[in-house]
Each structure stands twice: as structure tokens, then as C-alpha cells.
Amino acid sequence: MGRCCDGKDAYKPITKTRYLLGLLIFRLMHLQARLFMFFRHTFIKKYPDYNALSRFHRTYFNDTLKEIKEQKGLILKDSPSLPVNKFKAFALLAILIFIFFNYLFRFEGPASGYWDTYITEPSLFIANTHIDFVTKDGEKLYSYSLPGKLPDNLINKDADGISSKDQRLGGAIIFTPWYLLFNIFGFRFFFAISGVLIAAFAFLISQLLFKNFYLSAFTAIIAALNSYILSINNLNPNILGLMIISIILYLLLEDTPNGLIIGLVYGALGGIRNESILFLPAIIYKLFISSPKKGREITLFFLGSLITIAPILYWNKYAFGNPFMHPTQFHSLGGFRPVFEHNFLFWKFDFNGMLNWPFYHKIIRTPFFCFPTFLLLPLTLASSLGIIIFSLIFTGAINLFKRNRQLFIFLMLWFLPMYLLLSVMENWSNLKMTFLLMLFSPLIIFIAAGLKGLFSKETLKSNLAGIILLSIAVFILVKTLAFSDFEVDQRWYERFPRAVEGKNISYIGDDLRTKKEDPAELLAQKKILTQGNLLPRLNKTDIDLQQKIKIIKQESNQKEITIVDIWKYIYEK
């Protein structure tokens, strides 16, 4: 008791768990002393009077224990209970377990498409594992060896160059420890854990704001089991993004947010999705309105962000020559990646992406997609969630605007900049559509706020009327859009010349195509998006459980994999 509390903590209540844990530690300490004496006496050096020593120890232990047990004035209290009762806790656990196995079994394996290849490849190189690169036909490519150190492992001139290509390195970094611990199965395992954490944090955020178990459980299900997220079966940085955004939002929504911890997590998010810089105004606003010491928390936030983004900035400097360069803009990545002229008011610039109006002179759509992105995003959401839940976003936003203006402003500051950025982007793909997940968290909170309005007698009628009216309005709007027709972006065929009829392979989304845009396919897509389904769309997925278990067993013992050098099929002429 060198540094005692001078008695000021005496007779303060302690929990039963803590008391029992203390007793256990006390017993273990004596057991340890006893074992030490026994082993020393038996194997090292005999005590002259071992029996007397043992007797003394036993008596000393028993007396002390008796003294502890007879101690008067101890105030024992029950351990802090779960915020929900046992039945509810088990129900929540069952939901999370279901989500875990759903994600675990529907995962299609690492390196099966474009984005996930450039998560898996650098991840294995970070862990110093050799990869065999092959063509689509299985022919072996490249003869190379790894230098065995970072960051050198990540750029190999004898192999495919920069291993993360135009993707951000953060996703690969997050997956590496899971690969190290669980081999190839680590990718699948962490994919499943991401799903669980998305649901868990949606539950916690909703519980923190609305304090209603059923509402929070529903929010968790919507967050992790909606039909859109269930259609993503590969490693995807936006799933990681959604998971980390949920953590940041939870930390920010606490009574007194901790700037340093939020900054540390935000920096990690920045390494996965550079676009998360757009969340900065919302974070600063929330820290400003919630922290008693605003300046200190905001400074600590920036410090924390700097610590965890520093490795990424160093990597950018090493690989692209500029710590702030977005990997997609690096001119020396192999392949044909032309730039296009854009302008906004009097500002003209060249960009190797394809932006829509107002950066282009007219509104266009990407081939293979029936709508421009600014319509695709809400239509995909409405189609996945169903029009009723989609309408809850608006009633929830109205509810928050009326009752919690600061939270409303915070969530809008979070949502709007990212939506505006995505809405002008074309050169779209099914993979890029998953950017929708970056917008998901504030929308989930709005949905929960919309549902909360239905739980109170005072607001039930007005909210119900609002949902019905909004559902009708959204339904009419969605159906009207079925008649719209947007011009195809011809720049796309210029950028991906293989897509032009007569050439062999083109690339769209996460699969390789050998044909031009198919009008029948486009019509089918439009039909789904403008169907106007009131309830969530259910995707039928057939999972061969036995086959999956076999794959999992194989993955857990598999250290190396073969990767198709997919980049050359996308960008090389």
C-alpha cells in the first residue's frame, strides 16, 4: 500500500463482481506462492523444514481469508446491468450471430474482382507473402522476389508495379493482421466481423439517441442486413468505411466527445477513403457544440488524425511523389487512362475521371446504367429499403429538425458534402455504387428518428400521415422516372476502347464484358429501380453450406494465393 488513498475511498461501494475478482486474485496469489515452494523444494533445493513452512503458509492464508470475509462495512452493490434485460440481450446476440454467419458464408473470397484484388495484393505484400500472378487463362506472369521490407515490398518493378494500383492502401493495412493470424480465412473472418460491428454500432447509436431497444434492434438490422449491403460479397473499402464511420459517429454523439480518440479513428478512415475529408466540417461542428474545452478537443482531434494518417501520407510520398495525391490521379500507373476537359463557370481543368453537369455541358449517364449517378443513388436506396422505410428518412429528418436542431445540422453536414461529391461523378460502376455506404450512417439515424415518431402517442398521427404522404410522393416520382431518358456519356467509350463493338474485352463494374451496352439489360435495370416496391427488396441467395465450410477449412490453412492481374484487362488497350 505504498500509494494509498489516505482512507478517502474506504467504505465506498464496490461491485460484487469486483469483490469476487479480488478474492480470486488473492487465492491465485497464494496458490502461486504454494506452487513455487513445492517446485523449489521438489526440483531445485529442499527446504530444511518444508512441512512446517507449508503449515505456516496455509494458516496465514486461511487467517487472512477469514479476516477478509469477516470485514465489516463493505458495501457490495450489483454489477452495472446491461441497458436491456436478459431476453433482449439474448435477442440482440442472436441477431449479431446471424449477421456474422450471413457475412461469413456469403463472402466470395479475396481477390475475385477489381477493388478486392488491390486490397488482398498489398495486404499479402505487407505481410511479406509471395503472390503468383496469372492471366485470366491461368498462365503464370512475372518472375520476381520480395525485398522483405516495407515500403519496398509494395512496389515491385518485376511484378505489377504499385501493388495497390489506384486504390487506397488503408483497406489492405486493416486486413493484414487478420491475414497474419488466420491465413486467407482472415479476410473472410474480418469481413464477417465488419458486418457485426456495423450492426452493433447502429444499435448503440440508436440506443444512445432514442433509448428504445426494439427501435435500436430494427436499426441494427436495417444497417447490416438491407438488401443493398447484402449484395456486396467481396472485400470492399466502403464496408470498412461504413464500419469506421459508425464508430466515429458513436464517439461524436457521446455527451463529451474525446477529440484525440475520434481523431485517431478518423485518420485511419482517411487512409481507407480519402473522400472522408468531406466529413471534417461535421466533426468540427460537433466537437465545437459538445465539448466544454472546444479548442483543446479540436486541437487533439487534428493531432490524433495526423498520427494515424501519417503512415498513409508517407506511403503516398514514397509511391506517388506527393503525400496528398489521390492514387487515381497518379499519371505513371500503367495503361491507357486519358484525361477529359471539364469546366465549372470560368474554371477549366483536365481530369481523368468523367464528371457530370455542372462540370460537363449536359447531363449524361454512364453506359450500362440507366440513370445519372445523382438519381441512381437515391433510386438504389429506395429500391433496396422499400419506399416506406425510404420515406422514414424524410420524416426522421423533419422530426430531428423540430426537436434536435443541432443533431439535424450535424447529420446534414455529414451527409450533404459527400452526396454532392458523388452526385456529379460519372464513369460509374457497380463497385462505385457501394459509395452509397459512405452516406448510410446519417440516413440510418434519420430512419430511426422517423420510427421514433411512431412510438409516441403525441406524434404518432402526424408522423403516420407524413409517412403515407411522402411514400405516395416518392412512389409517383419513382414511377415518373421510368419515362426519363438520359444521353450516354460518349467519353466512356473513349476511355475504355475495348467496350466498343469489335474489340475483345471491356470492363464494367466488377466483371469483365465482351459486349456493348445491352438495351434489354438496361431496361431490366430500369424496371427494378423504378418498380416502386413499398417494402424492402429481398435478394434470394443460394449458399451451398457444405461447399462453404469446405472452402473455409481450406482457407484457414492456406497462406498463399494466385491472383489474376486484372489491371491489364481494364486499362490496357
Binding site: K149, P177, L181, I193, I247, L260, A268, P311
Partner: protein
């Protein structure tokens, strides 16, 4: 089975414990279930990026030993913060 248990224990040490200690050192007001979820969330985010940063500084790949060392380092730093902040209690 033993191997799985061993790996899960390592995963708890590498991902959960650092997150838990960061919370204890940085966030004072948290109740039990939230603490555990948050601990795991923080651990899986911060330990990998710290390991990668340190591996780059040391010019070495990220390996199991480095991962354990980084997790231990974070745990120790947080423990020191906690011990410095909290005086020992007694009942007399």
C-alpha cells in the same frame, strides 16, 4: 480446437485489449456493453495502422511478432496513463 482458441486469445490481446485500455484511459464515462464493442472497434482500427507505421519506420514487413509488440506497446502506454491518473484504493 486448441489452435482456434489460441488464435482467438491472441486476437483478443491484439485487438480488444488495446482498444479497451484506450477507452479506459481516454473515455471515462462508458458502461459495460458499450465499452466492449467500442474496445473492439478501436482495436481493429488503430492496431493495424500503428503496426504498419512502425513497420515502415523499422523497414520491416508486418509480422506476428511486430503485431504483438505494437499491441503490447499500446497496452503499456495506456496502463501507464491509467496508473498515473488513478491512485490505489484501500479500505482503511
Amino acid at each position: 480446437m486448441l489452435k482456434i482458441l489460441y488464435l482467438l486469445l491472441i486476437a483478443v490481446y491484439v485487438f480488444y485489449l488495446p482498444g479497451y485500455l484506450i477507452i479506459k484511459a481516454g473515455l471515462k464515462k462508458t458502461n459495460q456493453p458499450q465499452t466492449h464493442t467500442l474496445a473492439f472497434g478501436l482495436g481493429i482500427t488503430l492496431v493495424p495502422i500503428s503496426s504498419f507505421g512502425i513497420a515502415m519506420l523499422l523497414n520491416t514487413p508486418v509480422q506476428n511478432n511486430l503485431l504483438l509488440a505494437v499491441a503490447t506497446f499500446i497496452n503499456l502506454i495506456c496502463l501507464i496513463v491509467l496508473l498515473k491518473r488513478k491512485p490505489k484504493t484501500c479500505t482503511s
